[in-house]
Symmetry: C2
Subunit: 258 residues, 2 copies
């Protein structure tokens, strides 16, 4: 029996998120992936363990999941072998054998998300599925200043969707910055973990900074208030992409796409 770590990229537009649902009519990325894996490995009981539960409409370039299989298919051939069994919007980018004790969620040391904004006078139909549209010109310098205030270890309760039950709302943000390329504004954030909707609330707050509604100097106050009402709105899901998940295994971290 081998434990195999898969790196998965998907366009989340058509899916009700990553996680498989009890109702088989609800289409999820994990559900479609599992179906394909069961066919490939002729194993009707196979299940996968995902690293991150991305929401409805959220995309991924570097999602991870493990499977335990008995197979003669060489591990590195799995991405190509599974390609014809998957829908066009889900791709297995990489497969590698990991120790049987490896866990895609518990062994994760950090994750990077990208949040994409189309900031222009006019919507761009080619960007509508992968960004949020903001008409009012955003001050990117201020947004970047504000982004850097998130770096550190804090109780991020103010950036957690109401109703989520986690034992601790303390998280560490290693890096957070904002970059502009033409009409696209990208927010990048790397942390040891994220609360429910945390990146989307951070993105909504940074958009409010860009519009002058919140000053960069207020970010720390908002964090320390631990009150969700002080942060910005939850930004739309389609702007969010899980870029990469990092593990400290075999002494290297693996690039998802190059």
């Amino acid at each position: 029996m081998k434990r195999i770590l898969l790196t998965i990229a998907y366009d989340g537009t058509r899916y009700s998120g990553w996680q498989k649902q009890l109702s088989p009519e609800v289409m999820t990325v994990e559900g479609e992936l599992e179906k394909a894996l069961r066919v490939l490995f002729r194993s009707p009981e196979l299940t996968c363990v995902g690293a991150s539960r991305t929401d409805r409409g959220v995309h991924a370039l570097g999602q991870r999941a493990t499977i335990d299989v008995e197979t003669t298919i060489p591990v590195e051939k799995i991405p190509l072998a599974i390609l014809p069994l998957l829908p066009q919007d889900i791709i297995v980018v990489k497969a590698e054998e990991v120790p049987s004790t490896f866990h895609p969620r518990y062994d994760c040391v950090k994750k990077t998300y990208e949040y994409r904004i189309w900031n222009g006078r006019i919507k761009n139909p080619k960007e509508r599925l992968y960004s949020t549209f903001v008409y009012c010109p955003l001050d990117v310098e201020k947004m970047d200043l504000a982004a850097k205030k998130f770096i550190g270890t804090y109780d991020f309760a103010a950036f957690c969707a109401a109703g989520s039950a986690v034992s601790s709302t303390v998280r560490t943000i290693f890096d957070c910055y904002v970059k502009k390329e033409g009409n696209l504004i990208n927010i990048y954030v790397t942390g040891d973990g994220f609360l429910y909707n945390m990146v989307r609330i951070m993105a909504g707050t940074l958009m409010a900074v860009g519009q002058g509604k919140i000053s960069p100097n207020e970010i720390l106050q908002i964090i320390l208030s631990m009150d969700r009402r002080n942060a910005g709105q939850t930004a739309e899901p389609q702007g969010l992409t899980l870029q990469e998940i990092y593990y400290n295994f075999q002494g290297k971290s693996v690039d998802s796409l190059d």
Copy 2:
């Protein structure tokens, strides 16, 4: 009666091209736009005259079309007024009044197309609808050298799909270059007009150059041969976007998106 010039952006994925078809079941961009315009202007007979017949699956950021209407809606308000009447993948970017003698096709002085290639080891699901995927690493410097050989006035019969009946296959290419940004390779080409499938055949030829199958110095020979068989394959439609159409009217050319 006013003649109004519309600038239109669309994601061509769902459409059988720009041009309205006789069969009402065939969904086209022009067909959907006309339906919305007829509702907005309460004019069941309204038709629009498009500048460029983009193919099935091809996108546009700067398509143009004119309509003749009797209306009290201020012209500059048309983009916002028509927004709720259009599907999400079609946007009227701009509306401006033009002289009654203006024709969107005959008065066009040049057009710019972009052809987008995702060149990487792995497909990117977020790019699949807006680029063509090439696995083998492309030599962008060679492609750019070859692109510049297209600049000039030539008989481009070798770059015209078979079966197209045009009176002349002579066209002028003003500019053609190739740019790489990460895994994306973009071909930009500006000309006074293009033959049927011309940009896609040019893109396919430049991809063959990038793979070392054709040398940049062979481009001129291929053009002069006037034989379609000497050029590269017709590249897939989803990589192509009509970026901009230029007119010399009122002394200015209008940007489609900013």
